[in-house]
Subunit: 137 residues, 2 copies
């Protein structure tokens, strides 16, 4: 790999675990879809594929978003914050079928942020678009 | 404090440092403004004030966003993700003067996510709205 290709990765202030927090935002609607982590390898893979590849902290391995569900994220743009330690991806989120609403959440919802604080309670306020049993076999 | 008021805080899966990642999104535009952290005390303060109060990991203290700059964040809505370990705030971001564009970033920009990956380079693509020297005295 040439120097320029390494430099943009070195600019990032990776945390003590070698990770960076990543926010995925739907390009068309502006909806915040999910939050995850990347290590250096995941970010390189994301840049090369043009699809989001995260680091799964629970499974300790690369996680090509959509590999099981089919709900891939096409990455249009990558942003970095002022402290060089958080990334924002503008994505197109695949859904159950072409033309159907994007499904980012493993619960079958559009966005992972479907619980709203109402008074002192978290309430699920977004519909399940597709039963997860249909995409996790 | 009564039980219900404690439960919504206990629902959150705080990390090993007692923190939760927080995304601030502009309610009107959908722009992702910044990313920060809260501890339990910061989140309680946020809920009570209706303005974002974060935990500063560098200064090890509560950080009432805007306390120095005047760029407060009025919180309209709080969301939690499917794993109960990330928060999303819908906010109105104060700017330099009433009616002017919101300034979330300490560089004087609207959003902290002003660096875009272009090829193998991070490029600042958003304008500085107000010289930070005017609000950090």
């Amino acid at each position: 790999m040439n120097t320029a290709a390494i430099q943009w990765l070195d600019t990032i202030r990776w945390d003590r675990d070698g990770l960076v927090p990543v926010i995925a935002q739907e390009a068309g609607t502006g909806d915040v879809l999910m939050f995850a982590w990347m290590n250096r390898e995941a970010l390189q893979a994301t840049a090369e594929r043009g699809q989001a590849v995260y680091w799964s902290r629970s499974r300790h391995k690369l996680w090509h978003k959509g590999e099981q569900s089919g709900h891939f994220q096409q990455v249009h743009e990558m942003r970095m914050d002022c402290d060089n330690d958080v990334l924002l991806l503008k994505v197109t989120q695949a859904g159950h079928a072409p033309g159907e609403p994007g499904i980012a959440c493993h619960t079958g919802r559009h966005s992972c942020f479907y619980q709203r604080l109402e008074g002192h309670q978290w309430v699920a306020v977004e519909p399940v678009l597709v039963d997860p049993e249909r995409f996790y076999k």
